[in-house]
């Protein structure tokens, strides 16, 4: 029996996708789990794994064409089957449907499929659980599970507010708004640091520099830019985080000399391949991880009735993309060395820049680092990236005159760290102690071993 | 003549049923009427089934045939086939023929007595001149439903004849052990209903008595109560070894076989010859055999039809 192949929700917030490439031609055999095409979603370009077996009888949406979640994109069946009625149906549906699907258009047609076809975070797929609990053991209402499966949300990244920590509809509603943890890291700085009109740039700037922004339109007229799905999500999630977590900010200046010297020595020892040099970010990530080990309350998440202390330390780094922001996550930083962290980070950043990160790779960070140093920003305050309760904003390394012990004036390399904390989870004293300890660790790493 | 023929038919059909039960064609309860034929046949012969109704309990094969049910439909119902009178859904205890005004075939002891009384209410209400015959056994006479019904029939002047077929055993219990009053005709008197007791082995006597009661019901709208003393030659049902009576007792009643009694009466008055009797008997046997064959050849009801006729 021939069946229509439907567009699936390949990201938690995807409502429609564009077919970039077809990997199969009409007439080719298709087996379950074969990649039949690549689809650009609101987040990244995803591979579409087939759930049907048979022959690809007809491609309904060509390369470059778009389809909403739930729309038919192809027909698979036995070769020689008459599929005219299926094709008609598809055309009629495409013609008739003008209204954009508001919520979950995929609900009915996709029900049977998401678990297999979509490479979203589910029990079998996810490699590093945020807090180590298996999805099967999680308490969640049937409705919440359905919502999670339809929207491709990892239940482990959701805080349950029901009895016994049960995840219920209102938790899923919240999670949907902040589901994919778009790094809302780059926020407008305070104290006039951010240049007016300058776009927020992230820690890692692509080799070619920041993509050139178009200047004001030539004619001088106002221009309405339609808000993309991605931007909508960023907007929603940033607002949600800012409005629900009571933010406070702690600023400390850190002597970066020791760290930079260590980095230089390390890179000198490494093989001379391109891209082998370890970035300062990897150092920062490791220092933060080691400090977090001593401050579990900072590696935690507000659950309503409880505070969830994460079992592992997963740190995200904010990365700028052409059209937005994403936060790839390095998992289990507590048990990895700086070199390994750096290697993983480089792979993740690559994927981020080519829009190929999977939801497991950009969700569920327990702590986030954002840096605008390379853009020249001295200091700024960032917006917390859920499910974490704190974010570290890193300014540029600059030279400052300091008073030495003997009264003379020396020059040091300094950077200003600003820690944003969720006051529901992290009290001022705790945040301060953490930040202070972080400074000490960065400046005297060896002391950390004592 | 008709009485004799009917009694013979009942006898042969019942014997056939017993045989088929032994061959496992019929299952569950099967209450045979052998020995009591005179009562049903004699009584129903007094009716006009276009306006009269018959109710009985679960020993109903005889009454069904006396009302004119097709033996094929009866046997097929015993076999549970879709061609049975109740489409296989009733079985031995729930034979019904709405056309012939034979309203069962009721399984709960005594529970049909008020129902029969209700049919009489309708006749009275609609001024129809009909009569209801309500048969039940000595086992039912102590049920509250019996007493409630007689009271209602009297206060409302209902055209109904209650006939208690006293075959002397309520299943395994001799009626004398469980009855404060052993002359059941007295039961009617408690409700100011005329009652009489009579010999249930003599079809002509039964017929006469019932005819009178039916008249009273039709003309005067008065209920009557008749106790017909009879005997069943087989156990209460097929699973009853009937150890509660002696062989001698059984033999004694067998010598009072109602069929033989009527035959003797008719021979005496030259209304029949032995050859004629044998011919009728052979005919009845043939009909019985054919009924069994018909039942055997009939299809089972489709399983899905179990959902049919739950609600109208």
């Amino acid at each position: 029996m021939a069946e229509q192949v439907l567009m699936l929700a390949l990201s938690p917030t995807m409502e429609e996708g564009t077919i970039i490439t077809w990997h199969k031609k009409e007439g080719e055999a298709v087996a379950q789990s074969d990649i039949i095409c690549e689809v650009e979603t609101d987040k990244a370009t995803m591979e579409y794994e087939s759930v049907n077996e048979g022959t690809l009888l007809k491609i309904l949406v060509p390369e470059g064409g778009g389809a909403r979640v739930g729309d038919p994109i192809a027909v698979v069946g036995e070769s020689g089957e008459d599929i005219s009625s299926l094709v008609q149906e598809a055309k009629a549906a495409a013609a008739a449907a003008e209204k954009p699907a508001a919520g979950q258009p995929a609900a009915e047609p996709v029900e049977a499929q998401p678990a297999e076809a979509t490479p979203v975070a589910t029990a079998e797929a996810a490699p590093q659980p945020a807090e180590g609990a298996p999805v099967e053991g999680l308490k969640a209402s049937p409705l919440a599970r359905k919502m999670a499966s339809e929207q491709g949300i990892d239940l482990r990244s959701v805080r349950g507010s029901g009895p016994g920590g049960r995840i219920v509809k209102r938790d899923m509603d919240k999670a949907l708004r902040r589901a994919a943890s778009y790094g809302p890291a780059a926020a407008v700085g305070i104290a006039g640091v951010a240049a007016a009109g300058a776009p927020a740039a992230p820690a890692y700037i692509p080799a070619g520099g920041i993509p050139a922004m178009a200047g004001p339109t030539a004619s001088g007229k106002d221009e309405q830019i339609p808000v993309s799905g991605k931007r909508k999500i960023i907007a929603q999630r940033l607002a949600e985080s800012k409005y629900s977590a009571p933010h406070y900010y702690l600023r400390i200046d850190v002597d970066a000399g020791a760290m930079m010297a260590a980095r230089t020595r390390l890179n000198a020892r490494l093989p001379k391949e391109a891209g082998a040099k370890v970035s300062p970010n990897a150092f920062l990530i490791k220092f933060v991880a080691e400090t977090l080990k001593k401050y579990p309350p900072v590696n935690a998440s507000w659950q309503g009735d409880t505070i969830l202390r994460f079992g592992k330390i997963d740190i995200a780094l904010a990365v700028a993309q052409e059209d937005g922001l994403i936060t790839p996550v390095v998992r289990d930083c507590g048990s990895k060395g700086i070199v390994q962290i750096d290697r993983e980070l480089k792979i993740l950043i690559d994927k981020a820049l080519s829009n190929k990160l999977t939801p497991e790779e950009y969700s569920g960070a327990t702590f986030t680092i954002s840096s605008l140093g390379t853009s020249g920003i001295l200091e700024f305050t960032a917006i917390i990236n859920p499910p974490g309760s704190a974010i570290l904003a890193v300014g540029r390394i600059h030279k400052v005159p300091v008073a030495e012990d003997d009264g003379s004036i020396g020059v040091r390399s300094q950077m200003i760290l600003t820690l944003s904390c969720d006051h529901r989870v992290i009290d001022g004293a705790v945040g301060a102690a953490f930040l202070s300890d972080l400074k000490a660790t960065i400046e005297y790493p060896i002391d950390h071993l004592y | 003549m008709e009485l004799l023929r009917q009694m013979l038919l009942v006898r042969r059909v019942e014997e056939k049923s017993a045989q088929m039960y032994g061959l496992r064609k019929i299952g569950g309860f099967c209450h045979l009427y052998i020995g009591q034929e005179a009562v049903a046949v004699g009584a129903v012969a007094a009716l006009d089934l276009k306006r009269d109704y018959v109710f009985t309990a679960y020993r109903d094969h005889g009454h069904a045939l006396a009302c004119g049910m097709d033996p094929n439909a009866l046997m097929a119902e015993l076999y549970g086939k879709v061609t049975g009178c109740s489409r296989g859904k009733g079985g031995s205890m729930h034979l019904f023929d709405a056309d012939k005004h034979f309203l069962g075939g009721n399984g709960i002891v005594g529970a049909h007595i008020p129902v029969a009384t209700g049919a009489a209410l309708k006749i009275r209400y609609k001024k129809e001149n009909g009569v209801v015959l309500c048969f039940f056994g000595d086992g039912a006479i102590h049920q509250g439903s019996f007493h409630e019904s007689l009271n209602l029939a009297k206060i409302w002047n209902l055209p109904i004849v209650y006939i208690c077929e006293n075959n002397q055993y309520g299943m395994g219990t001799d009626f004398r052990r469980v009855s404060s009053v052993t002359d059941f005709s007295k039961m009617g008197v408690s409700y100011d209903i005329p009652g009489s007791q009579m010999d249930g082995m003599d079809a002509l006597k039964v017929h006469e008595a019932v005819k009178q009661a039916v008249q009273r019901a039709r003309k005067e709208h008065q209920p009557s109560f008749i106790e017909a003393v009879t005997y069943r030659y087989k156990g209460h049902s097929m699973s009853d070894p009937a150890t509660y009576r002696t062989k001698e007792e059984l033999e004694q009643y067998k010598s009072q076989d109602p069929i033989l009694i009527l035959k003797a009466q008719m021979l005496a008055s030259k209304q029949i010859s032995n050859e004629q009797f044998d011919k009728i008997d052979a005919e009845c046997k043939r009909i019985s055999n054919e009924a069994a064959q018909f039942a055997e050849d009939s299809p089972q009801p489709a399983v899905e039809t179990l959902h049919e006729d739950v609600l109208v």
């Binding site: 049937p142 | 009178c85 709405a98 008020p114 209700g118 209602l152 609600l311």
Partner: protein, 325 residues
């Protein structure tokens, strides 16, 4: 539109049907000369005479069976049980005769009869006179069981029940007889087997029938004042059950509380709860809650009597439990 009492709505229904079809008769204890133990049949004897409005002795099994017999052969009797408590004595007639006649006769015999009377606890009557019977009757295939909660529903449904060719057990309640509401003068029928949304809402579905409905609506009002939107579904009919109405509502609100003024074990609410769990599983944000009577015989003491039954507070608490607030 005239505002009339529940008891009058019932009377009007019977009156209209008796006028329409001469086969409809009414029988029961005190229905004629006394004008009805609860005055439901007031005036019917005067209008239709003793042949059609019949006082019976206190013989439930007897007159219930008589009603069934009359129905078998063409009449359309209404049998009034003074209270459903006394119907236990007639239970065999309903169970074994009325319900099964059509099926065991292979479709030959119909029983177009209505059994009606007040069901469930009234006040101060102690256990033997406070029994709820919905579970016992709803259990039986071959009959219909209905339970209206407003004068409007009562009239339309009783008319339909009388016209129905199946046996119908029509459950009323003593304390509802005085409830007043608008009932149109023009004739109307309400089909059996249809539920009714008495109040629309979207956060939780409250399902009930018969006397508790008033309390359920009060609870919904109170919940609204606290900011919660409850949908109130009046089943009106237990057999047949309007499953689609139930599922549509629960799939909309994702949460359900069933209120049944009966004992909990093997009660009607338990089966409905299972149906919802089974058919709305993926829509449920919380398990289905039941608010029932306590599992005890009804005491005489009035305070205890009220504590045994559902209350507005119990209903609200159950609703809040499923909303996790």
């Amino acid at each position: 539109m005239p505002v009339i009492a529940f008891r009058q709505a019932l009377k009007d229904a019977m009156d209209e049907e008796m006028a329409r079809d001469e086969n409809v008769i009414l029988m029961g204890e005190e229905v004629a000369q006394y004008n009805g133990a609860y005055k439901v049949s007031q005036g019917l004897l005067d209008k239709y005479g003793p042949e059609r409005v019949i006082d019976t002795p206190i013989t439930e099994e007897g007159f219930t069976g008589v009603g069934i017999g009359a129905a078998l052969v063409g009449l359309r009797p209404i049998v009034e049980w003074m209270t459903l408590n006394f119907s236990a004595q007639a239970f065999d007639q309903v169970l074994n005769n009325a319900a099964k006649m059509l099926h065991m006769s292979g479709g030959q015999l119909r029983v177009p009869i209505v059994f009606r009377g007040p069901n469930g606890p009234a006040e101060y009557l102690s256990s033997q006179h406070s029994q709820s019977f919905q579970a016992f009757y709803a259990h039986i295939p071959g009959i219909k069981v209905v339970a209206p909660s407003t004068p409007y529903d009562a009239k339309g449904m009783l008319k339909s029940a009388i016209r129905d060719d199946n046996p119908v057990v029509f459950l009323e309640a003593e304390l509802m007889y005085a409830w007043k509401a608008e009932v149109p003068e023009e004739e109307y029928l309400i089909p059996l087997g249809q539920a009714d949304i008495k109040r629309a809402g979207d956060e939780v579905t409250l399902i009930s029938f018969s006397k508790p409905m008033q309390m359920v609506l009060e609870a919904a009002e109170a919940l609204e004042k606290e900011g919660y939107s409850a949908e109130v579904l009046d089943l009106r009919s237990l057999r047949p059950l309007d499953e689609q109405a139930v599922y549509t509502s629960v799939r909309k609100t994702n949460r359900c509380v069933i209120i049944d003024n009966d004992w909990p074990m093997a009660g009607f609410a338990s089966y409905l709860g299972w149906l919802i769990s089974n058919n709305c599983f993926d829509s449920l944000d919380a398990p289905v809650e039941l608010v029932t009577m306590e599992d005890v015989p009804m005491p005489y003491n009035h305070g205890m009597e009220l504590a045994v039954q559902p209350t507005v507070e119990k209903i609200m608490n159950a609703a809040k439990r499923v909303m996790y607030v």
